[in-house]
Assembly symmetry: C2
C-alpha cells in the first residue's frame, strides 16, 4: 500500500516553535510542554528574537539561525510577523507550518483577509503545506505530537478533523473518561491550504484510523470534499457534525473560521449520499464515535431495553420509536419462562423491563438475562436510571453487584450492548462517586456509556442506521457489478 502524500505531516524529524514566550499561560509554552510530555522523539527548536532561552532550551532569533533541518514549524507569532516567518520557513526548506496565529480572515477586516491569502499563495508556490491559520494543529500520540495535555498518551482508532480547536479539545472532555481514544486529531481552523477535503482523503486511507469524526464549518472545495467523504465512508464509519446550520450560526462562523457554511439541506444530502452520518452536536459526535469504536456491527435495529422505572421506561420507548429503533414485544417463550419465575408480576414485565417490578437484584438479573437474550433483538441497552441505581437502600455494594451482573449478561448475549448512566444532574459527592465507580467498571468491560436516554437512543439509532445504509449501498453496488 502506497503512503498517502500527507503522511509526512505526522513524522517530522524536528519541530520549531516560533514565537515561544516564557509566559506559562502562553500557547507557545503549552506546545513545548506537550512535545515534552508526549515524548516527541525528534529535535525541538525554539524561536524568538526577544529571549536567549525558555525553560533552559536556547531560543534562536530566527528560523534560519537553527543549525539542523526543520521539518515542521508551529507558528505562535502575531499576524503582523507571519509573512516574514513564512519566507524564512521557505528558505529553510520547512515541509509544513501549523499556524496557531490568528486575527486573519476571521477578523472580517480586509487586511486580515489579504494577509491570509498572501501566506497561502507564497507557501503553495514553494510547496510548503499549511495547517490553519487560527488552529491548534496536530495530536498524534504515536508520534509524540499534541496540543492539549489532557489528551491520552494511549492511541486509539478514531481519527478526527476539526475546524474548531475548542471543539477538538471538548472531545477529550466528552469522551476520554468513557474510553474514547484517538489515532490522530487535526484542528485546522481557517484551512487556507489543507482543508476538510485533504484531511478526509488522508483519513480514508490511514491504516491507523478505523473510525472518522469531523467538525466542519464549511467546505472550500465542495466536489473534492464529497468525493473524499464518499471514499472514506465506503472504507470506514464517518460521523460529521456541521456547524452553521442556521443564519445565526453562519454569522457566528464569520468571526470564527470565516468559512462559507453552505446550505443546510445541501449538507444533509451530501452526507446521506456519501454514506456518512450527520450528527447534531459535539455530544452526539462523541457518543457515536464511542459506539463505532467499541461495538461490533449490529445485525439490525431491534433493541432490548433492560431497566428504568415505569415512567422512565415509557420515555425510553417513546424516544426509541421516534429515533427509528424497534422495541419488539416479548415473545411467547420468554413470557412463559417469566410466568414460571415470577408468578405474581410476570404480566408486568415487558420490553423495556421496568426494574421496579422486579426489585430483588438476583431476580432482576435473571429477568435481564432472559430479555437480553431475546432472539428477535439486535442491540441491548442497560438503563441505569439514577433514582434506582444510586438511591436504593443498601446502596453502592448492591448497585455494583448488579452492574457486574449486567456486564456479564452484555457479554453473554453476543449483541452490541450499551449502558445508560445518567449522573449529570446531582452534584452530591456520594452519588457522584458511585457513578464514577459504575462508569469505570463499564469502561473496563468495554461497554460504551451514554449519559442520558436521549443520548443513548440517538447514538444507537445512528449506529444501527449507518450499518443498515452500508448494507444497502453494498447491495446496490453488487447489483451494478453483476
Amino acid at each position: 500500500m502506497e503512503t498517502h502524500p500527507l503522511e509526512f505531516l505526522f513524522h517530522p524529524r524536528s519541530v520549531a516553535i516560533a514565537g515561544i514566550s516564557p509566559d506559562l499561560r502562553s500557547q507557545g509554552r503549552e506546545y513545548l510542554l506537550n512535545l515534552q510530555q508526549f515524548e516527541f522523539p525528534g529535535d525541538i527548536y525554539l524561536v524568538n528574537p526577544n529571549y536567549a532561552e525558555v525553560e533552559g532550551i536556547p531560543c534562536y532569533p530566527a528560523l534560519r539561525d537553527i543549525p539542523g533541518p526543520v521539518d515542521y514549524v508551529v507558528s505562535c507569532v502575531p499576524a503582523t510577523a507571519l509573512l516574514p516567518l513564512v519566507d524564512d520557513a521557505i528558505a529553510k526548506r520547512v515541509r509544513a507550518i501549523q499556524m496557531y496565529t490568528a486575527r486573519m480572515a476571521e477578523s472580517g477586516l480586509s487586511e486580515g483577509q489579504a494577509l491570509e491569502a498572501e501566506v497561502g499563495r507564497r507557501a503553495k508556490q514553494a510547496g510548503v503545506r499549511l495547517i490553519g491559520p487560527n488552529c491548534m494543529g496536530i495530536y498524534y500520540p504515536r508520534g509524540g505530537l499534541s496540543f492539549r495535555l489532557g489528551y491520552p498518551r494511549e492511541p486509539g482508532v478514531v481519527g478526527v478533523l476539526s475546524q474548531s480547536g475548542g471543539n477538538s479539545a471538548y472531545l477529550e472532555y466528552l469522551g476520554v473518561g468513557r474510553g474514547l481514544r484517538f489515532s490522530k486529531i487535526i484542528s485546522y481552523g481557517n484551512g487556507v491550504d489543507l482543508n476538510e477535503a485533504d484531511l478526509m482523503d488522508y483519513f480514508a486511507d490511514d491504516p491507523e484510523t478505523r473510525v472518522i469524526g469531523a467538525y466542519i464549518e464549511g467546505a472550500r472545495e465542495g466536489w473534492r470534499f464529497f468525493q473524499a467523504l464518499s471514499r472514506a465512508a465506503a472504507a470506514k464509519p464517518v460521523a460529521i457534525f456541521k456547524g452553521g446550520a442556521t443564519a445565526t450560526g453562519q454569522r457566528a462562523i464569520s468571526t470564527h473560521t470565516a468559512s462559507l457554511a453552505g446550505q443546510d439541506r445541501v449538507w444533509d444530502a451530501l452526507c446521506r449520499q456519501a454514506g456518512a452520518v450527520r450528527v447534531g452536536n459535539m455530544e452526539e459526535l462523541s457518543d457515536l464515535l464511542l459506539a463505532f469504536s467499541l461495538l461490533p456491527p449490529p445485525s439490525g435495529n431491534r433493541l432490548a431495553v433492560l431497566g428504568g422505572g415505569g415512567g422512565y421506561s415509557v420515555y425510553t420507548a417513546d424516544t426509541a420509536e421516534r429515533a427509528g429503533l424497534v422495541l419488539p414485544p416479548l415473545p411467547q417463550g420468554i413470557k412463559l419462562r417469566l410466568k414460571e419465575m415470577l408468578p405474581q408480576v410476570w404480566s408486568l414485565v415487558s420490553n423495556p423491563v421496568d426494574h421496579s417490578v422486579v426489585p430483588d437484584p438476583l431476580q432482576y438479573l435473571e429477568v435481564a438475562r432472559l430479555v437480553a437474550g431475546h432472539p428477535g433483538t439486535d442491540l441491548a441497552l442497560f438503563n441505569l436510571d439514577p433514582a434506582w441505581y444510586l438511591d436504593t437502600p443498601g446502596g453502592v455494594t448492591r448497585v455494583l453487584g448488579v452492574v457486574d451482573g449486567l456486564l456479564n449478561i452484555a457479554k453473554e448475549c453476543g449483541k452490541p450492548a450499551a449502558v445508560m448512566l445518567a449522573y449529570s444532574d446531582s452534584l452530591e459527592p456520594w452519588r457522584w462517586e458511585t457513578a464514577a465507580e459504575v462508569q469505570r467498571r463499564c469502561v473496563a468491560g468495554g461497554l460504551p456509556v451514554f449519559l442520558s436516554i436521549d443520548r443513548a437512543i440517538r447514538a444507537l439509532s445512528y449506529f444501527a442506521g449507518y450499518y443498515r445504509s452500508a448494507v444497502r449501498r453494498q447491495e446496490r453496488k453488487e447489483g451494478v457489478d453483476l
Copy 2:
C-alpha cells in the same frame, strides 16, 4: 378566598400506615421514616396483624382497632388485602386512602382491573377519596408529609402532579441541587379516583403554588382536564411532560399505569389552547420549572450569549435560532466601545461572545458587561464552556473570580439571566469539584443552571414562549371584553 375541596388532603390529623413491615427495605418502613424525619405533627399509627410493634411503635391488627380518629391511610398491603382495608377505612370514617398497593389495572389481568374498579366504587359510595393505586402519594414539607427522604425540608413554589413515582423522585435528582423547591408533589399512579383533572384544578387555586409541573400518561376525563388546565395556565405557568407519545411508549404505559394515552396531536393542541407549555422529557421539565420559579418574566425572546469558544458559539447560535430565539447583532454603539477597549480584536466580538477572543479575565468581564447590557436583548445566557472554565491555566481561583463577576453582571443587567454549566461528561474529581463550587455560587446567586447548551436554550425558549403566548391571550381576552 374559599378553601379548595381537596385542601384537607394535606392536613390530616393522623396518618395510619397499613401493611407496615419491620423490613428496612420495605416501602412501609420508608413512609414511617419520612413522617418522622419531616416531623409530621399529627398522630402516626401502624397497622399489621403480624407484628406487635415496629421500631418501638405499637402495631394494631386492623384500622378499626386504632383508638383515635384516622384521617389518612397509607396502604402498603398487597392487592389481595386491599378490599378489606377499604371496608375498614370506610367504617373508621377515614377521609382519604393513598394506595402504594400495586398489581391492579396495570397488571393487564382481568382480576386486577376488576379489583381496582371495585375499590373505586366502594370508596366513591362512601365519600372516601383515593390517591393511586400504584403510586407514592404526597410530599408536602409544610405539613410534614413525604415519600422520599431526599426531598428538601424547605418548601418552594413549584407544585407537581405525576403519574409516575419514579419520575417524581427523579425531579429531586434533577432539580434540587440547582435550587428547585416544591410546594407539593403528588404521585397519583393509576388515578382511579383523584386524577389529573382534580389535581390540576387544586393547583390552579393553591396559593402556595406559583408554578405547576406535571407528568401525565393519560387523561381519564379529557374535557374536565382541559378546563382545569386552562384555568390553571391562566393563573400561573404550567409545564407538562406527557408520556406515551408513540405506539411503543403507549405499550409501555399499559404495564405502568394502564392509562389511555390519547393521540399525541390532541395533546399538542390541548396544551397549546389551554396555554400550558408541553415539554419533551423530565430534564426539560426540571429546567423549565427552575426558570419559571427563579426568573422574572422576560420582555421578549431576544438573547445575549456571553462566553463559549468559537465552535461552541456557532452551536449556541444554531440551537437558539432553531428554538425560535433571536440573537441580535451588536449595535453600532457597543461596537465603537469595543473598538476603544480592544483595538486588536474588537471585530471578532459578536453575539455570542467567543471568550477565547478575550482570554484576559478582567477584559472578558468588561466585554460581558457591555454585551449583557445590550438594550436590544431581553435575556442573558452565561455560557461556561467546560474546556474553558475548567481547563485554563490558573485553574479554579481564576474561574471562580470570573463566575463571581458574571453573577454581578447578571444582576446589573436587570434581565432574566441563566448559566450554562456543562460538567456531566468528565468524571475526574478536580473538574467535578470545580463544577460543584461554580454551581453552588450560581444557585446562591439565584440563577438557574442548565447542564448543556441544548437544555439551556430549550428552557429559555419555552420560558420566553410562555410569556409571549400569555400576553397574546391576555390581549385577545381584553379584545373580547371590550
